[in-house]
Amino acid sequence: MSNATQLLRFITAGSVDDGKSTLIGRLLHDSKSIFEDQFSAISRTSEKRGMAAVDLSLLTDGLQAEREQGITIDVAYRYFATPKRKFIIGDTPGHEQYTRNMVTAASTANLAVILIDARKGVLTQTRRHSYLASLIGVPHIVLAVNKMDMVEYSKQRFEEIVGEYKRFAAQLNLHDVHCIPLSALDGDNVVEKSDAMDWYIGPTLLELLETVEIEHDVNTRDFRFPVQWVCRPQAQEYHDFRGFAGRIEAGDVSVGDEVTILPSGRSSKIKEIVTYDGHLQRAYAPQSVTLTLEDEIDISRGDMFVKAGGTTRCAQPAGSAIACDLASVAGSLGRMVNSSTGNVSEAHSLPAVAKEFEAMLCWLSETPLDKNRKYFVKHTTRTAKCLFSRIDYRVDVNTLERHPVAALNMNDIARVALKTQQPLVIDHYLDDHSTGSFIVIDEATNNTVAAGMIA
């Protein structure tokens, strides 16, 4: 039965009191994903607090520490399923650390639900959430206009909000935006169609979550295989076996394919695609496999297999100042995932091998970025020491204005230039999320202090 269902990961973003918790509670409740013991626990609490109805928002109530100290600890993951799909919700509480939390949750999401209070319309926060979703390249956006019951279910009000949002969103790298009028409190257009809004003919939120096409959310064209682990069995029967274990991050590979190993640039042919369930002729992203080669080449963790030939798309001259951020390059570069559907040329492209590159950075740590210090960057399966050579500007996430800055603080988004001690095999984040993303680790504390997107 559900053995052939797909997995969709999504996040919800909204300001405090827009109804995010109520909406998630409603989705879980109306899709029958709430268990009796959970329901009776929140019923008891609702009663204790003197509420007339069961407060569904209590389902996503947090940890004891949060309850006691009123602090929020970034992302909570929730799970539910319908016969059509399995869902993972990355639930991000609002408040001060919002940028950091949302960036974290969005990094693995196929879709973002951006909540708006119908009475308030498009607010600064809406712009911020939308900019962050576009920065992280969340492929699908749902603008959920909530609390429609409080604006008399007005079609005119909904269209006003949608119009304003679309004007703003046009500046961003958002490709697939769906707008739904709903009432999380009463459940209108969440799972069930709303009788009060018969003027709305589109899908309910759940219908959309169940049907939005996610096949092209990964780059299906440019084969990328970072080596994770070298498999050398000690047994006699596998004496000559040397397999390269990893996950195909993009594209596909077949037995006999000519591959180049970067950064060394040596070439060979795929001999076998080994899996526990037998050898394959062809494998696709995001499968985890073990590859063997026709030739004996010195390869270790951190090296990347790509298809031989092809053109270098990510031709970023080292250290050059390309004055653009992810939002503004969107138009010219486009997402390669889109071109894989066939409109643009079929030729695959090659990543760049670079020790200097530029990136959009989200600073996650309470300790500001220090340009005099060394950090580690972890990119695919390779970790290298790095230095920040420049901070070009900080983006005000509310207005999208750029400001020159000397340092970066928690929640800042900025365009920076980096130098690494070893070369990295990189793509633009827009072309391939897995080979265009990295994290920055503080050498002294070992903490993860930033998330980067190569631009």
Binding site: G243, T381, N447
Partner: protein, 308 residues
């Protein structure tokens, strides 16, 4: 995820494929980046799924880590038998450390002999980590199990005392995992974080995994206490006035014999368990673990103390 290749033939990548590939990726990151990892293996269904994922990640080689079990000596004998059989069949090294060792050393003092021993497991686990110098322990916990788990990272960072500080966890972005620790510190890794109870059962069915027989419906002597069915065993005997009934039951989790309650069931196959799981209205922990019901936050407290 459906993937389209150049010939536009469709390759169906199901949610189980996606979860499996993610878990393999996580285990390989641990094997490649941690100096001395271990895989916690109890013989329960989640850790049996973990073993299959390890096979998929590392075969034809041996696992680059040992299997470790912290035995409370309160385990169901069927589970221990399965634990030993699976480790032997795979030819992998199994390290067992018992709470009794810690009791003998005096690091655990048990006040009430019949009470659940889960709270003490953390002590023996930390002692075992020190004994072998493990820098990473992989466990089969899932985020859908309990509220305190919902915010757990896949790579969960513990200080020198094995403690989990919910306020001081590293952000986890994409699937780039930060595995760096200082000497003496430790990470717990949860490769199947994103799996639900249903996913586990579907995977057991798909992979035809051998699991302890007590997961299937069987007749058992139980006592009703509140809503729970308590299995009668050498550790649990009826109190005065309690009636022993023989009921057809199965276990959804297999922990400490004194606090793991079975559910009424007639499911004799994995397919029947899946059908029951699809219609069950009670969470796995709500139905079966008395130790987490004591208070809304009891799991969180135990995690802070170093429990998995």
């Amino acid at each position: 995820m459906k993937l389209v290749d150049h010939n536009m033939t469709k390759h169906i990548f199901t949610h189980l494929d996606a979860l499996e590939s993610e878990s393999i990726h996580i285990m390989r990151e641990v094997a490649a980046e941690c100096k001395n990892p271990a895989l916690l293996f109890s013989g329960g269904k989640d850790s049996i799924v973990m073993l299959r994922i390890a096979e998929k990640a590392f075969r034809p080689a041996k696992f680059p880590f040992p299997l470790v079990h912290i035995d409370t000596e309160h385990n169901f004998p069927e589970v221990i038998a399965t634990r030993d059989k699976l480790a032997a069949d795979l030819g992998e090294r199994l390290i067992v450390r018992s709470l009794e060792d810690s009791i003998a050393r005096g690091t655990i003092v048990i006040k009430d002999l019949d009470k659940p021993r889960n709270p003490y497991q953390s002590v023996t686990l930390l002692e075992t980590i020190t004994e072998f110098g493990f820098d990473a322990c992989m466990g089969g916990a899932r985020r859908d199990e309990e509220k305190a788990r919902a915010k757990e990272r896949i790579f969960s960072f513990r200080d020198e005392f094995g403690q989990w500080d919910p306020k001081n966890q590293r952000p986890e972005l994409w699937d780039i995992y930060n595995t760096r620790v200082h000497a003496g510190e430790n990470i717990r890794v949860f490769p199947i974080s994103n799996w639900t109870e249903m996913d586990i059962w579907e995977y057991i069915a798909r992979e035809k995994l051998h699991i302890p027989c007590i997961y299937y419906a069987h007749k058992r002597e139980v006592i009703r206490r509140g809503n729970a069915l308590i299995p009668v065993s050498c550790l649990v005997q009826p109190k005065a006035g309690e009636i022993v009934e023989t009921v057809s039951v199965r276990f959804r989790t297999v922990g400490d014999m004194t606090c793991t309650a079975p559910v009424e069931s007639t499911a004799h196959t994995v397919e029947e368990i899946i059908a029951e799981t699809a219609t069950t209205r009670i969470t796995e922990r709500g139905a079966t673990r008395m130790d987490d019901q004591t208070s809304d936050a009891s799991m969180e407290l135990r995690k802070k103390e170093g429990y998995f």
